[in-house]
Every structure is written in C-alpha cells, then in structure tokens.
Amino acid sequence: MLPYAVAAWLFGIGLYGIATSRNFIHLVGCLGVCQSATYVLLLGLGYRWGSIAPIFYDHPPGTPAVDPVMQALVLTDIVVGATLTALLLVLTIQAYKRGGSLDPEKLRPMRAGSKSGRGQGSSRGKDEERTAP
C-alpha cells in the first residue's frame, strides 16, 4: 500500500508544482517529480520481499528475484525522462533567448489584445487600397 500512496503523493505534489510554477526551469523539475512517481510505483509493484536483483551471475537459477520486467520498464522510463528533460531545457533556453523571461505568464503562445489591433489596422489599410481605384 505504501508505494501506491507515495506514488500518488509524488504525482500530486509535482502536478501542484507545475500548476503554480512561475519559472520554466522549476517547472521542468516538477515534471521530474511527477515522473519519479512512476518510478516508485513500478519498482514497488515489482518488488518481492527477501529476493535478489534479477541477475543470476553468482546465484543459482531459481533463487527468488524481483520482477525483471518492471525494472526494464523503469529503465525505459528513465530514458524517456532524460529525453524529455533535455528537450524541455533546450526549448526553455531558446524561449529565454527570444522572450527574455522564464515566466510562463510572460511567455504565452498567442494572446488576444497584444497583436490583434495590428491585424485590424492592416485589414483596414487593405480596404482602403481596394476601394481607392
């Protein structure tokens, strides 16, 4: 039961961090916390009391071992996590270079108000062009 609870707590706290974050690097860290929840869950599910790691080099076959499938899943998950973190940090650096800020509030994708006025102006200009001749 404990691994479930820890995993749920980690995911929840990570999600809370993402929801309230005002800094993209902090946000990437929170995403890492969310991902740790999956590590804990998977390793907890595969764990058997009193058994060895699933490496039979110096143990006779048949020795009770923890579930190797779960460990393989966690390894893949770690690879995914590394890729995502790297990609997100690259995006963050590029966004900082262009926007000059790490605050999600200041780096919104596309907002009304800031640029729509210009669009209207240009459309009006074209109206005049068309009606003039």
Binding site: A19, L31, M70, L73, L84, Q94, M110, G113, R130
Partner: protein, 584 residues
C-alpha cells in the same frame, strides 16, 4: 494466412527508421532535394506495404512475434505485432498522408540537412508501430516516440510563440505519458502480462477489480490527452497553431485521431472483460465526446487565426469520434475508424490551404487576409469543398464515417450525442466556410467576436510554385470524395468486428439521412451570418451579439495559454474519469 506476409509486418516500421538513420548519418553529404525524394519514397513504401498487409489481414489478424518468442502455455513473454484489417488500412492512410505532406513541404525547409524529414520519418515509424503493436508497454514506447518527435517538430521555427506552444504541448503530453505508464504498471501487477490478449483473458477472469478500473482510468486519460478531449484539449490549440503548416497537417490529420484509435483498441480488446469498465464507458465517452464536439465547434467559430481555427475544429471532430467509440458497438467503432481516415483527408487538405495562404499571401489571419485570396481561386475552391465536406456534405469517406457513427448512436438511443455531433460539425463547417468567403470572395467587412481572438503574424517561405502545394491538397480531397463507397461498405462490418475481436456482423447501421443535410444547412447559415452581418437588420445582430459575447469571452479566457491552468484542468479531467467509472 501463410507465413509470408507475417515476416513483412515489422517492415512498415523498420523502413522509415532505417531511412531516417541513414539520412541522419549522411545528411551533410546529400545534395539538394535528395532528402525530400527519399522521405517521400519511404512514406509511399509504408503506405503500399501497409495496404498489402491490410489486404492479407482480411481473413484474420496477422501476428508476428519478435525474435520468435511466441506465447507458450498461456505465458506471454515476447513482444508481438498483431495487424487486423482496420489497423492495416489506418497505417496505409497514415503513410499516404505523410507522402503527400512531404510533397507539400517540398523544399520548404531548405537549409536543414534533412532534419525535418528525419523527424517526420521517426514520427511516421512511431505511428505505424502504435497501430500494429499488441503489447501494452510497446504501445507506451510508440506513444512516447511519437510525442518526442512531435514536440521537436512543433518548435521547429524557434520563434517565441512556437517555443511556448511547444513547451505547453511537451509538459501536458509528458504527463499523459506518465499516467499511461502508471496504468500499465497497475495492469501488469494485476495480470502478470503485457500482451493485449493475455491481459484481456486475465481481466475477464478477475471480475470486478478496482486496480483494473484504476489502470483503465489512467491509460484512458493518457489517450484522451493525446486525442484532445475536453478538459484535456488546451495543448492542441497552442501546438497546432504555432507548428509549421506541414507538421499541422500530420498533427490534425493523424496524431490526434490516433490517440482515439488507441483508446478504441484498448477499450475494445484489452478491457473488454471488465464489466465495470464496459458499463461506465458509454456514458463517459458520449458525455465527454458531446461536450468536446460542441466546445471545439464553438471555439472554432470564434477564431481569426486560420490554423488555430482548424485546431479547434479538430478538437470538435475528435469529440465526434469519441462518441462513436462510446456506442461500444461494431457500427460505432467501424464508423469511427472510417471517420479517422475521412477527417484526416479533409483536415489535411485544409491545413495545406492554410499553408498555401501563409506562403503566397504571407499571413494566416482571416481578417487581415480579407479579399487577398482573389488571385488564387483554386485554393479557395479547395477550401470551400473541404469546408462543406467537414460539416457533413453527404459524399465521400468522411460522410460514410459520419453515417456509421450516427447510425450507432441512433440505434443505442444516444440522442444528445447525435445532436451534439451534428451541431459540432456544422459549427466547424461554418467557421471554415466563413473564412473561405472572407478570404477568397472578400465578403464579411464587419468582423464580429472573432476580431478579439488571438492572432499573430507569421510567415512561411514562398519558394514553391502554387501547383506543387495545391496538388497534394487536391489529391487528399479527391481521395476523400472518390474512394468507392461500396469497397468500404463491403469491408467495414468484417474489419470492425475483427478490430474489436467480436463475431462478425452482417451490416452496419446508418443514421438518419436528413441529419448531414441539416448540418450543411446550419453551416451555410452560420457562415452567411458571419459574412453578411452588416446587411442584416440591426436587432438580429444585436440580440445574437448580446447572448453570445459574454460566454465567448469566458471561453477565450479559459484557453489562457498558461501551463499551470492546463495542469489543473488535467487533474480535473482525471478526477471526472475516475468518478464516472467508480459510479458504474
């Protein structure tokens, strides 16, 4: 079936991966257009091979076990591909869409050493793998490969908007990946296998089990995030609006619907034995789907940025597909599968028209573009036809899908979902037709609520002749209209039952014939209202404006572009799914 096609099964995944690896190694040596040619040929190869596999799978699903690790005594250790007819045809459609997109993007990304093509081929391999796999964890791996390629492609332009859109997309879809992995872990812990069939057998034996239901909630939430179902839809509008137009073609045409394809497969195959899941699903899926169809359509009508409008239209159609799955019958799922293909064809063509406008008229803003399309009439005709098809003009593949979905919903008595789907389609059609009228006919001087929608100036390179960009767009539309209806009618009942692992049904129910016409009429009326607003009596315009302006502003404020808000909505969505399954 003989062993001959079975060894071909990994090839549609392997070919793009090999081409992409070879291209990555030699990209700096390849002259000029070679990456374009290689990528187009690879995608065509995938399409042809998948169609060949699909044709062979008509008699029964083809199975391939990697490394020969076949299941023994009910123990599944190996990882397999299992291709039924429907999955094969969906993969063939995806390959074709990529091939046409590569033609559309010919020379678009000039000095990039083929990086665009490499990422796209990786994306293609992941999608085909996602269609073919029969292993839960493998499904997750393809899901993640697909996501990572998509994240990088979204941010391709490295502009401020593109970057923040890509960050939102990445964070939300990574959370989807984690949810899915958690769900997979739970289901593995309960059933001891990752193979679809193995899990299905164990789930059917187990009876009512909270762990199985929990696992389904997590996996379904992840796939719905990919499929942009309300309240998980926020990332889509940000990502599709800022991605380069060829990438948006792929996103809307196949990636989003593939999430729902995955959901249909998982709920019909893997969790078929869980009564709790099967009882909870119809209400959950039709409710979320109806809501999504309406909200997406409404938001589409309020946009002035063409790609953002098409993105919301994709959300609306994803909702309609979800209601098709929610019917939980061979009719509904079959209709949904046809809908995936038809919608991909039409929406791909529409994004290509948006790309043509970006390239030749250097703008994507409906109001700024008013009347500027007069010189490129053929693109306008393509856009108008696509708009009519989108809202349900009763010809072509999309219409066949619509009729399948509507037939299943009518048969099961989901009247609200039926109406919501028709209204959603009409709203998106109205949005597209209004934009076409404004851009290509110069109508609609009075911009209403859409003037307040977010927009941004954007440019794409104008280095391609118009016919080269228009040809793939028209090819998509011709395919949608020209694909012989009787072929689909003939294959659909068999393919849908094989997809759902159910005994074959004879015929597929069809919805009321007048409903698509109602959608078309409503769309035309909506578009006409938007374009001819200034000629209507003032009291009509005022009363419509008074009733819709406030909710409109509230909806736009909801799509804040803030990643924190999206994460909060994600939590709400997961809670809704859990609550509805817990009550079932």
């Amino acid at each position: 079936m003989t062993a001959f096609p079975a060894v071909l099964l990994p090839l549609p995944v392997a070919i793009p991966l090999v081409v992409c690896a070879a291209m990555l190694a030699t990209a700096h040596l390849l002259p000029g257009r070679v990456p374009d040619i290689l990528a187009t040929l690879a995608a065509l190869g995938v399409a042809i091979l998948s169609a060949f596999i699909a044709a062979h799978a008509a008699d029964g699903p083809l199975v391939y076990w990697f490394g020969g690790w076949e299941p023994r005594d009910g123990v599944h250790l190996g990882i397999g591909f299992s291709v039924d007819e429907a999955s094969g045809w969906v993969a063939a459609f995806i390959g074709l869409l990529y091939a046409l997109t590569f033609v559309f993007a010919w020379g678009f990304f000039g000095r990039t050493h083929g990086h665009f093509q490499i990422l796209m081929l990786l994306f293609l391999a992941a999608m085909v793998g996602f269609c073919f796999t029969r292993d839960m964890f493998n499904l997750f791996v393809w899901f993640e490969v697909m996501s990572v390629a998509a994240f990088a492609l979204t941010a391709y332009h490295l502009e401020e908007s593109a970057l923040s859109g890509a960050i939102n997309f990445t964070v939300i879809n990574s959370l989807a990946g984690f949810l899915m992995l958690g769900g997979i872990g739970l289901i593995y812990a309960q059933t001891g296998t990752l193979d679809f069939e193995g899990i299905a057998a164990a789930v059917a034996r187990g009876g009512r089990d909270p762990v199985v239901a929990g696992a389904f909630c997590l996996v379904a939430a992840a796939l719905m995030i990919k499929g942009a179902i309300v309240p998980f839809q926020f990332w889509l509008a940000d990502a599709h609006a800022v991605a380069p137009s060829p990438v948006s073609v792929i996103f809307s045409g196949s990636m989003v619907s593939l999430g729902l394809f995955g959901l249909a497969k998982v709920s019909a195959v893997v969790f078929a034995g869980s009564d709790q899941v099967q009882h909870g699903l119809p209400v959950l899926l039709t409710a979320l789907g109806s809501f999504t169809a309406l909200l997406g359509g409404w938001m589409a009508l309020l946009q002035r940025h063409l790609k953002r409008m098409l993105a919301f239209s994709t959300i609306s159609h994803a909702g309609i597909m979800l209601t098709g799955i929610g019917a939980l019958s061979a009719d509904g799922t079959g209709g949904m599968l046809v809908y995936v293909v038809g919608h991909g064809l039409v929406k791909g063509a529409l994004f290509m028209v948006a790309g043509i406008l970006l390239a030749t008229r250097a703008s994507i803003d409906e109001i700024a573009l008013r009347g500027l399309g007069l010189g490129i009439g053929p693109a306008g005709i393509a856009m108008a036809i696509a708009g009519l098809l989108l809202c349900g003009l009763p010809i072509g593949v999309l219409d066949q899908g619509t009729r399948g979905v509507q037939g299943a919903l009518a048969q099961q008595g989901h009247g609200i979902a039926l109406a919501a789907g028709a209204i959603g389609a009409a709203l998106t059609g109205a949005a597209v037709l209004r934009a076409a009228g404004r851009i290509f006919l110069g109508l609609g001087p009075d911009s209403g609520d859409e003037a307040g929608a977010p927009s941004e100036d954007e440019r794409e390179k104008a280095n391609r002749p118009l016919w080269l960009m228009l040809a793939p767009c028209c090819a998509l539309l011709v395919l949608d209209v020209g694909l012989p209806a009787h072929l689909i009618e003939h294959a659909l009942p068999r393919a849908a039952s094989a997809f759902m692992h159910r005994p074959a049904v004879d015929t597929v129910a069809e919805g009321p014939g007048w409903l698509p016409w109602m959608s078309v009429l409503a769309a035309l009326a909506g578009a006409a209202y938007g374009l001819l607003r200034d000629r209507l009596p003032a009291f009509v315009v005022r009363s419509v404006g008074a009733t819709q302006s406030a909710p409109t502003r509230a909806l736009e404020a909801l799509h804040s572009g803030l990643i924190g808000d999206y994460a909060a909505w994600l939590a709400v969505g997961v809670a809704i799914i859990v609550a509805m399954l817990a009550l079932a």
